[in-house]
């Protein structure tokens, strides 16, 4: 099996720091998620502790999964493969490690300020101005390090993964600043409907122009290696990249179909949401053809297994997303747990799974030793997979119950007792993910620091 074979040691303190960051915050973030799920079952549990009320825990959970767990995990892999694909060294390991420290500082200040009640109250843009500035700064530092690395490249042509990383880092630094209205430090917002449009332009870009390209970059790098097949088509991958840029950048208004925004913007958003089929299928056809006939090999390699599963979730989340952008469908699915189900299969099933796969791919190289325990990694895989599948089934069911009830004019409080049971089930599915996160943290720390394995 992959993990018992020899791995050459490739010291990369930056990738190592980002791996640890991701594994640590994954555990904290799921704990916050579980806590929040507890409130949905028993709203007054912990009633007197202001810092841990649902309204504060929810943004803590969401910001932690986005900026604590998934993004650093995907960046860890990028810090490994960008130098390799350009046949050069990372521009500055010192800058990289400094960025990782700053990253952790940003995340910590972010959650402490949220739990103290400092929030700008806009979804995915809750963080207050000083933290916003830190976020922009860390993305800029990551950008500088990677751009300088590519600038000194010895491989003239850029592999598709590099295009994706650049799109993610550079565009996020820009859209984050714009979406958080950083020129208005006091509110971090415009007024009224224009603010909603701007917010969702930005909010959607967090999934579409940060998590998605970073995840695709990792998959395009790891799947050919794990299967020992060349990429099915590099031209197709570039086509997918450019069509993603064209289509994904202005579909944010599909979050606002029930809002009085100009109709033309809604039409652009809906048409582009359907057109997302093009970049999505360009990627999936490419990866699945690359992996053709090697399903067994993929499952024998823990990194391949996580990443391939992530691509399957990508298929589901995207098909579901295109359908959810149809106004007829959204009349039922909006404002209820259906969307929360979609969010979890997207951010955890797709991007989170690929982040974990990317980290398992590089960990043995960073330590020069096999993974501490392949069994624990497999266990984590199954726990996360079972948990996320449970989330999808449970939350989709609740969403349909809520959506249809409200659509039929039923009052909210009469629906709540009906869905109580599902919230209990969601919490139990969450326990699987939570255990997976802690097991993963243990396995990664043991692999990097207390690994009895023999160095190659």
């Amino acid at each position: 099996m992959a993990d018992h074979a020899a791995h050459a040691l490739e010291p990369n303190p930056t990738a190592r720091a980002f791996c640890l960051t991701s594994a640590f915050w994954f555990a904290v973030a799921t704990t916050a998620g579980l806590w929040a799920a507890g409130y949905l079952i028993a709203p007054d549990f912990m009633a007197n502790i202001a810092y841990l009320q649902f309204g504060r825990l929810r943004p803590i959970h969401v910001n932690l999964v986005l900026f604590g767990f998934v993004t650093p995990g995907l960046l860890a892999a990028a810090f490994y493969y960008v130098p390799r694909l350009t046949r050069t060294e990372l521009f500055s390991q010192r800058l990289g490690v400094l960025t990782a420290w700053l990253w952790n500082l940003t995340v910590t200040v972010g959650i402490v300020s949220l739990s103290l009640g400092f929030s700008q109250g806009r979804e995915y843009a809750e963080l207050v101005w000083p933290v916003d500035m830190l976020v922009v700064l860390v993305f800029a530092l990551v950008g500088v390090n990677l751009i300088m690395t590519v600038h000194r490249r010895r491989e003239p042509v850029l592999y598709v993964s590099i295009w994706y990383v650049f799109a993610a880092v550079v565009l996020t630094a820009l859209t984050y600043a714009l979406g958080n209205v950083i020129w208005r430090p006091d509110t971090g917002a415009l007024l009224g409907i224009p603010d909603a449009i701007l917010l969702w332009f930005y909010g959607h870009n967090i999934f579409g122009l940060l998590l998605t390209p970073l995840s695709l970059g990792v998959a395009y790098y790891v799947i050919p290696i794990v299967t020992r097949n060349p990429l099915y088509s590099h031209t197709l991958s570039l086509l997918g990249f450019w069509s993603l840029l064209v289509v994904y950048t202005h579909i944010g208004t599909h979050h606002l179909l029930q809002v009085p925004v100009p109709t033309w913007l809604k039409v652009v958003a809906i048409v582009d949401s359907i057109a997302m089929v093009i970049p999505v299928m360009a990627f999936l056809i490419n990866i699945w053809y690359t992996a053709r006939g090697k399903l067994g090999e993929i499952h024998a390699d823990i990194a391949g297994k996580f990443i391939f599963t992530g691509t399957i979730w990508y298929f589901f989340v995207s098909i579901q997303g295109s359908v959810m952008a149809l106004p007829q469908v959204q009349r039922i699915t909006h404002f209820n747990n259906w969307t929360v189900g979609h969010a979890h299969i997207g951010v955890l099933g797709f991007a989170g799974m690929i982040a974990l796969g990317g980290m398992y791919f590089i960990l043995p190289k960073l330590s020069g030793k096999p993974l501490y325990s392949r069994f624990l990694a497999d266990l984590q895989y199954w726990l996360v997979l079972i948990g996320i599948t449970g989330f999808l089934v449970i939350l989709t069911t609740v969403g349909l119950i809520q959506g249809n009830a409200w659509f039929n004019g039923e009052t909210v409080y009469r629906v709540l007792p009906e869905i109580h049971l599902y919230y209990v089930l969601r919490l139990s599915a969450g326990l699987a993910i939570l255990s997976g996160a802690y097991i993963g943290l243990y396995n990664m720390v043991r692999t990097l620091f207390f690994n009895p394995g023999v160095q190659a």
Partner: protein, 86 residues
């Protein structure tokens, strides 16, 4: 009148993308596509070409089965939702 700003923003994005596209064209980024397919495979540090055991293959098929079941659920939900809207 706020949407001129959004149009300006979209245009700016479009122009920057075009600029990068032209840079890529002029710097041969779309040439040599055949060789690029092999680029990740230069990473020899990964002890790969792992032979799959029977269990791994079984696991793969199990996943495929699950994915098909998921697809059928998606189709069913779509069908019932749209059916309500006939």
């Amino acid at each position: 009148m706020y949407f001129p700003y959004f149009i300006a923003y979209m245009l700016a994005g479009f122009i920057i993308s075009l600029a990068v596209l032209f840079w890529a064209l002029r710097h041969g980024q779309f040439q040599d596509q055949e060789r690029l397919r092999y680029l990740p495979l230069a990473d020899r540090s990964h002890p790969s070409a792992i032979k799959a055991g029977r269990l791994n293959r079984l696991e793969g098929y199990l996943m495929l089965g699950l994915a098909c079941a998921g697809l059928m659920c998606t189709a069913a939900v779509l069908f019932f939702t749209l059916w309500r809207w006939r």
